[in-house]
C-alpha cells in the first residue's frame, strides 16, 4: 500500500478543484514572473522610479512583509521561549507565513537592485555601518532559521515521514527547535530594528530623521515592537481567511484569543511610544531643522495629514483598545476588524517611512515629488502574494499544519 500524500484524518477538496484553484493563482504568479524577468532583463527603467524617488513601492512591500512576517518570530518567541504551549496550535502556520514573507522580501530585494548579479557584494564587501547591510544579513540569516523551522513540518508529510531518516531528522529538529527559535528572535530583533533605522538615520531627510534617543534605540524599538504587535495580527488575519476559504475551523478560538490579547497589549504600548516619538519629532526635531509639521503634508490625496491620523488613531489606538478588552476580542467581527486595522496601520507606517520620505521636498524651492508605480512594479509586488497563496495551499493540503484541525472537525 502506498502511503497517502494527504495527512490522515483530514478532508481535502477534490483534485480537480485544487488544480483549478492553483491554475488561477498560478496565472497571477506567471504575470508577476514575467514582469520580474522584464525588470531583470531590461533594467529598472521598467519602473516609474526616478532619481528623486529612488525607494518606492518595492521597498514599502519589503518593509511591510517583513513587519507582517514578524508573527513568526514573535509567536516562536512566545511558544518556545516564554513557553506559551497553547500557541503550538498556530505556530506552524505562523512559521509558514513568516517563511513566505521573508522569502518574498529577499526576492523583492533581488529585483529592486540595479545590478542583481552583484547583489552578493552586500555580504562580501559589507559596510557594517549601513542599516541595509544589517537588514540584509539578519534577513538572510533569519530566513535560514525559518527554513529550518519549516523543514520538520514538511518532513511530516506522511510519505516523507515514512522514511526513517527523514522522520528522525524531523524529530530531532523539533527537539532543539527552541535553540533555533532563540536565534531567530535574536536576529529578528536586530533586523526589524535596523529596518526602522533605514529611514531613521537619514539625517538629510527631515521627515524621517530622528534625533538622539529617538533614533537609537527608539526608532529601532518602534519597528521591532510594531512587527511584534502586527505580525501576530497578520497571522490571525490569514488564519481567519484560510478558515473562511476552507470552510473549516482550524485553530481553537482560545489560541487566537491569547495571541490577539498579547498582540493587543503590544500594539497599545507601541502606539503610545509611537505617539511620543511623533510628538517629539513634530514639536522639537522638525522645527530645529526649520520645518513645521504641516510642511510635511500637502493637500495631495495620499500625502495629506489624514495619513498620520489613520496610522496612529484609526489603525493604532482603535484596534489596540479593542484587542485589549475581553469583549472586543470575543466579538468575532471586532476581532477581525481590529487585526485588519492593525495590519493596515503597520503597512501605513512602513509606507510613510519609505514613500513619504521621498515625496517631501527638502528645499523650499522644490515641489513635491510624486510617483505612481508602473505595471511591472505592481505585478512584481503581487507576485509574492500569489506565491504565498500557492505555498499556503500546498502546505495546507499536504502538511499537518494545524494540529487541532482533526479535533475541531470531527465530522470529517
Amino acid at each position: 500500500m502506498e502511503t497517502p500524500l494527504i495527512p490522515p484524518g483530514v478532508k481535502r477538496c477534490p483534485t480537480w478543484q485544487f488544480a483549478l484553484w492553483m491554475a488561477a493563482v498560478g496565472a497571477v504568479l506567471l504575470w508577476g514572473v514575467y514582469a520580474m524577468i522584464l525588470v531583470w532583463w531590461k533594467g529598472l527603467n521598467q519602473t516609474n522610479m526616478n532619481d528623486a524617488y529612488g525607494f518606492a513601492l518595492w521597498i514599502w512591500a519589503d518593509l511591510a512583509v517583513i513587519a507582517l512576517g514578524g508573527g513568526a518570530f514573535f509567536t516562536g518567541f512566545l511558544t518556545y521561549i516564554i513557553g506559551k504551549d497553547k500557541l503550538k496550535g498556530i505556530i506552524n502556520y505562523a512559521v509558514i507565513i513568516g517563511f513566505i514573507c521573508y522569502s518574498s522580501a529577499l526576492l523583492i530585494l533581488a529585483i529592486d537592485i540595479g545590478q542583481p548579479l552583484r547583489g552578493w557584494f552586500i555580504f562580501w564587501h559589507a559596510n557594517v555601518h549601513s542599516m541595509l547591510t544589517e537588514v540584509a544579513f539578519c534577513l538572510s540569516c533569519y530566513f535560514g532559521v525559518l527554513t529550518i523551522e519549516f523543514i520538520p513540518l514538511i518532513l511530516e508529510n506522511p510519505r516523507l515521514a515514512a522514511k526513517p531518516f527523514l522522520h528522525h531528522l524531523s524529530h530531532n529538529m523539533h527537539e532543539i527547535m527552541a535553540v533555533f527559535a532563540a536565534t531567530g528572535v535574536f536576529l529578528s530583533f536586530f533586523h526589524q530594528g535596523s529596518l526602522g533605522g533605514v529611514a531613521g538615520v537619514l539625517f538629510g531627510r527631515p521627515f524621517a530623521y530622528r534625533e538622539g534617543i529617538f533614533i537609537w534605540p527608539w526608532t529601532f524599538f518602534l519597528f521591532t515592537w510594531s512587527a511584534a504587535a502586527c505580525g501576530p495580527c497578520f497571522t490571525i488575519l490569514v488564519t481567519w481567511i484560510t478558515e473562511k476559504i476552507t470552510g473549516k475551523k482550524l485553530v481553537q478560538q482560545d489560541v487566537i484569543g491569547l495571541l490577539a490579547k498579547i498582540a493587543g497589549w503590544m500594539l497599545i504600548t507601541y502606539i503610545i511610544a509611537k505617539s511620543i516619538d511623533t510628538l517629539y519629532w513634530a514639536l522639537v526635531t522638525a522645527p530645529g531643522m526649520g520645518f513645521t509639521l504641516m510642511d510635511f503634508y500637502t493637500d495631495h490625496p495620499i500625502y495629506n495629514i489624514g495619513i498620520l491620523f489613520a496610522e496612529i488613531v484609526l489603525c493604532g489606538f482603535l484596534p489596540a483598545l479593542i484587542l485589549i478588552t475581553r469583549r472586543g476580542r470575543e466579538n468575532g467581527f471586532l476581532l477581525i476588524l481590529s487585526v485588519l486595522l492593525a495590519v493596515l496601520g503597520c503597512s501605513i507606517n512602513r509606507w510613510v517611512m519609505v514613500l513619504q520620505v521621498m515625496a517631501v521636498p527638502v528645499f523650499s524651492f522644490e515641489s513635491w515629488f510624486l510617483y505612481s508605480p508602473s505595471w511591472q512594479e505592481v505585478a512584481t509586488t503581487i507576485l509574492p502574494v500569489a506565491y504565498g497563496v500557492i505555498l499556503i495551499s500546498l502546505a495546507h493540503r499536504y502538511l499537518p499544519v494545524f494540529p487541532q484541525e482533526k479535533e475541531l472537525n470531527p465530522a470529517n
Partner: protein
C-alpha cells in the same frame, strides 16, 4: 543487485547531493560568481575609451559669430573635449555651452557623410550617395544651363559667411558668374551699422566698448543670453567685488535682466521711444555732453536749410515730442525711472547704450537703432573708450579684379531679387526675409532658378515657415553645402557636405574691440571623418567645371593655398598664435573719422521721406494681428541654452534646457500667472497657440517674469530635421513659423519683434 526505480532515485539524489557538496568545496561556484560580477562591470556594450598620448590643439569656435578661442584635448587621434583657450582675445578662456558641445557636431549622427543626390520627392529624405565629381557636375551643369538661358541672375546663394575668405569667394563666384544675389542671414548689426552710416557716414561694423565701459544701458540686448562673445560676459555681473553697472530694458525677465542692476520692464517694441525719453531728460537737464554736441554734431539745434524752410533739430523734436510723461504712457516705465536712468547714464564715467534683441538675429527697426545711437552721441562717447566705435571691416581678403564675360556683365546689371541696394533701400545690403514673398508673388517662373545654401538654414530661420517652404517649392534647383542634415539640406536636391570647423582650416572674423578686429584661424583638429570637402575647394572645383572667365577667376590650387596666399606676411603669426588683430582703434579720432557732408555727427532726423527716421514717432513698432481676435502678444526670446539659429542645438545643450521650456515633445509657453488666471489656465495645461501666421500646440508655464498680456516662446526649438538621435527632432515649436516679417519702411529690414496671439485650451 537489482536496480529498481526507487533505488535509482535514491542513488541519483545522493549523487546530486554529493556533487553539490563537492562543488561547494571547489572553486567553481565561487569563481563563477565573482567572474559574473566582473562581467557586469565590463559589459561589452558599455564602451571603454581607449587611452593614449594627450595633446591639445588650439583653434577657434565657428558656431556663432563670437569666434572664441578653443583648446581641443585629444587622446591619440580622437578629440575628446573642447575647452576655452586662455589668452585668446575673444572668449578669454571662457566658452558658452554651445562651444563646449562642439564635438557632438563633429561625431554626431546629423553629419552628412558623403555627397548625396535626392532620389525621392523633395524633403522625403531619400538619398543616394554620389561621388564628388558627380556632385560638382550636378551643380555646374545646372549653373551652365542658367547661363546658357542668359539667366545668370536667377542664381542666388544664401550664405552664413559674412566676412573672411569664404565670404569673399562666394561674392567673387557670383560676380564672375553674373548674379547680384548673394543673400545673407540678417543680424541686428544690419540696422545698427546702418544707423552709424546715417549719422557718421562710415561703413563698417559698430562695436560697443563694453570691456572699458562702466555703465551699460541695454535696450534688450541679450548680453548674458548668448550670441555674444564670451569675453563680454566675463566680469560683467555685478557682485560684491565690483563689476559694471547694467540696466536692462526688456519686457521679460531674461537672464541678462536678472543679472542687471536694474531691470526696466518696458512694453515690448517701445525701446526706441524710451531711449528718446531718456534723451529728453538729458537735454532738458543739460546733462548731455554739451562739448561734443556743440563741436562735433550737426542737426542738434533747429536750422535753416535751403530757402526759408526751417529744419527741426533733434533737440526741439525730442523736447517737444518725447516728454517723460508721454513716454511713460507708451513704454509703461514710470516717469521717475526715466529720470533716474537718464541721470545715471549721463553722470556715469564711461556709459554706453546698446541694443539688438536677444542674440541679435533679427535686423530690427532703424528708428530704434538710431535712437539708441543718438543716446550715445548725447553721452559724447562716439569713438571714446567705453563708448561706440565704427570699425572698418578687415580688408585682408583682396583678390585680383576678375575678368568677366558678357553674360556675367548682363546678369550683374540686373536688380537684386530681394530688393536690397535698390532705390527704395539703397543702404541695405541683404533683405533675405523678403525673398519668399517675392518668389511666391512672382508671375511665371520663379526669379530664383537655382539656390545654393551654405552656413545657413533658411528653411528654419526665415520667418513665416509656410511661405518659405512654398517659395522653395518653386525653386527648381537647390544645393546645400551643409555638413549637417538640417531642414534646408533635407529640402535640397543635392548636398555637397562641407567639413566641420574642427576638420579644416578656416579664417574666422570676430567682433572687434579697441585693440582691433580679431581674425582667428580654425585648424584641423582631427582628420576629416567622412567623405566631405571644404566649401572653398568645392567653389574652386565648380568654377573649374564652369570654365571660361569663371575658371580663370578661381585659378587657385586649393583653398589652403589660397588661405596662405591671402594672409601672406601674417601667415606665420596666425598659424603660430592662432589669431591676428586688424584695424586697432585709436580713441578720440572723431573729427577725422566722420565721413558726413558736414564732417560732423549728424542728427539726421528729417533728411527727407521716406528714409526719415522717427516717421513712426510715439508709436511702438508695429505688430501684426488684431487685438480683437488675438488678445495676447507673443514674443520670441533667446536663451544661451538654445542655439536659436544655425546650427541646431546639440544634445548636451538640449540636456540643459529646463523642463519649464521643453517637456517631452511639448514646447512650453511662458505666461504671467495673472494673465493665466484670467484665461483660466494653469501650469502644465496643453493649449493651442494661434497667431495670424500659424498655430501650434504648447504647454503652459507660469512665469512671474513675463509681462502680463505677453506670452514668450524660445527660439531654437521645433526642428524637423537632423537625426532623431540628435534629441531635438520634432520637439517644441519653431517660433519663426508663427511670425511673419514686418518691413521697416526706411531700410526694408525685418523689424518684427512679436505678433498678436491667442491661447485656447485643448
Amino acid at each position: 543487485m537489482k536496480i529498481d526505480r526507487r533505488k535509482f532515485l535514491a542513488g541519483f539524489s545522493a549523487c546530486v547531493g554529493g556533487g553539490a557538496v563537492g562543488s561547494m568545496l571547489s572553486p567553481l561556484p565561487w569563481k563563477v560568481m565573482d567572474d559574473v560580477a566582473i562581467w557586469t562591470q565590463n559589459w561589452p556594450w558599455t564602451p571603454v575609451p581607449q587611452d593614449g598620448r594627450y595633446s591639445y590643439v588650439q583653434s577657434v569656435c565657428a558656431l556663432c559669430p563670437g569666434g572664441c578661442g578653443i583648446s581641443v584635448r585629444k587622446v591619440k587621434s580622437r578629440a575628446v573635449k573642447i575647452e576655452g583657450l586662455k589668452d585668446h582675445p575673444a572668449g578669454n578662456g571662457g566658452l558658452c555651452p554651445l562651444g563646449l558641445s562642439g564635438l557632438q557636431y563633429l561625431y554626431g549622427p546629423a553629419r552628412v557623410k558623403s555627397p548625396l543626390k535626392r532620389v525621392g520627392k523633395r524633403g522625403e529624405g531619400k538619398w543616394q550617395p554620389i561621388s564628388w565629381d558627380a556632385a560638382i557636375s550636378e551643380v555646374s551643369q545646372k549653373l551652365n544651363e542658367l547661363r546658357a538661358r542668359n539667366k545668370p541672375h536667377s542664381l542666388a546663394w544664401i550664405s552664413g559667411e559674412n566676412k573672411g575668405i569664404l565670404a569673399g569667394l562666394i561674392d567673387r563666384f557670383l560676380k564672375v558668374y553674373g548674379s547680384p544675389n548673394v543673400l545673407r542671414d540678417s543680424t541686428a548689426h544690419d540696422a545698427i551699422d546702418q544707423a552709424a552710416y546715417h549719422t557718421q557716414g562710415q561703413r563698417g561694423t559698430v562695436f560697443w566698448d563694453i570691456e572699458n565701459a562702466d555703465f551699460i544701458l541695454s535696450f534688450g540686448a541679450g548680453l548674458m543670453d548668448g550670441g555674444w562673445p564670451l569675453a563680454r560676459m566675463n566680469g560683467f555681473p555685478k557682485s560684491a567685488d565690483g563689476g559694471k553697472t547694467l540696466i536692462q530694458v526688456e519686457a521679460r525677465l531674461s537672464d541678462t535682466a536678472a543679472k542687471a542692476d536694474l531691470w526696466v520692464a518696458a512694453n515690448p517694441g517701445t525701446e526706441g521711444v524710451l531711449a528718446l525719453g531718456i534723451a529728453h531728460v538729458m537735454i532738458r537737464e543739460l546733462i548731455y555732453n554739451i562739448d561734443f554736441i556743440n563741436r562735433q554734431a550737426s542737426g542738434f539745434e533747429d536750422g535753416v536749410m535751403g530757402g526759408d524752410q526751417v529744419l527741426q533739430g533733434f533737440k526741439s523734436m525730442v523736447l517737444e515730442k518725447y516728454k517723460p510723461e508721454k513716454v511713460s504712457g507708451i513704454t509703461g516705465v514710470p516717469v521717475d525711472a526715466i529720470f533716474d536712468i537718464a541721470r545715471r547714464f549721463a553722470k556715469s564715467d564711461k556709459a554706453v547704450a546698446v541694443c539688438g534683441r536677444g542674440h541679435g538675429r533679427v535686423a530690427g527697426c532703424m528708428d530704434e537703432a538710431l535712437a539708441v545711437h543718438y543716446l550715445n552721441a548725447l553721452k559724447g562717447n562716439i569713438h571714446q573708450p567705453g563708448g561706440v566705435f565704427v570699425v572698418a571691416d578687415p580688408d585682408y581678403v583682396r583678390f585680383p579684379e576678375p575678368g568677366m564675360d558678357k553674360i556675367a556683365e548682363y546678369g550683374l546689371g540686373q536688380t537684386r531679387v530681394d530688393g536690397a541696394q535698390s532705390e527704395k533701400f539703397p543702404n541695405s545690403r541683404y533683405l533675405l526675409h523678403r525673398l519668399p514673398e517675392i518668389i511666391n508673388t512672382a508671375d511665371g517662373d520663379s526669379p530664383v532658378q537655382a539656390l545654393l545654401v551654405s552656413g545657413a538654414n533658411p528653411l528654419y530661420t526665415i520667418p513665416d515657415g509656410k511661405s518659405v517652404k512654398k517659395s522653395f517649392d518653386k525653386i527648381p534647383f537647390i544645393a546645400s553645402f551643409s555638413p549637417f542634415m538640417d531642414e534646408t539640406a533635407v529640402y535640397s536636391d543635392v548636398i555637397l557636405p562641407d567639413h566641420t570647423y574642427l576638420e579644416c582650416y578656416r579664417d574666422i572674423v570676430s567682433q572687434g574691440s579697441m585693440d582691433g578686429i580679431v581674425v582667428s584661424l580654425a585648424k584641423p583638429v582631427v582628420r576629416p571623418l567622412y567623405n566631405t570637402s571644404h566649401l572653398g575647394d568645392v567653389i574652386i572645383q565648380i568654377a573649374k567645371a564652369l570654365g571660361g572667365y569663371i575658371e580663370t577667376a578661381f585659378a587657385w590650387k586649393s583653398y589652403e593655398s589660397l588661405l596662405e596666399e591671402t594672409f601672406a606676411d601674417n601667415w606665420e603669426t596666425i598659424t603660430s598664435s592662432g589669431y591676428i588683430r586688424m584695424n586697432p582703434q585709436i580713441p578720440g579720432t572723431v573729427a577725422t573719422s566722420f565721413n558726413t557732408p558736414s564732417k560732423k555727427f549728424e542728427f539726421n532726423i528729417n533728411a527727407g521721406a521716406p528714409e526719415a527716421p522717427f516717421s513712426s514717432a510715439f508709436e511702438k513698432i508695429a505688430m501684426e494681428g488684431d487685438a480683437q481676435n488675438y488678445p495676447l502678444t507673443l514674443i520670441p526670446y533667446d536663451s544661451i541654452r538654445l542655439a536659436g539659429n544655425y546650427p541646431a542645438n546639440p544634445p548636451f545643450m538640449t540636456k540643459i534646457i529646463d523642463d519649464t521650456v521643453l517637456k517631452k515633445t511639448h514646447g512650453c509657453i511662458e505666461i504671467n500667472p495673472a494673465t493665466a488666471k484670467q484665461l483660466r489656465l494653469s501650469e502644465g495645461d496643453a493649449v493651442k497657440l494661434s497667431t495670424p501666421r500659424g498655430e501650434a500646440d504648447v504647454q503652459i508655464h507660469l512665469y512671474e517674469g513675463v509681462m502680463p498680456g505677453v506670452i514668450a516662446l524660445p527660439r531654437g526649438l521645433g526642428h524637423t530635421a537632423y537625426s532623431e538621435e540628435w534629441g531635438l527632432y520634432g520637439k517644441g515649436v519653431n517660433v519663426n513659423d508663427l511670425m511673419g516679417p514686418i518691413e521697416d519702411p526706411v531700410s526694408g529690414f525685418n523689424m518684427a519683434w512679436g505678433i498678436r496671439a491667442k491661447l485656447t485650451k485643448i
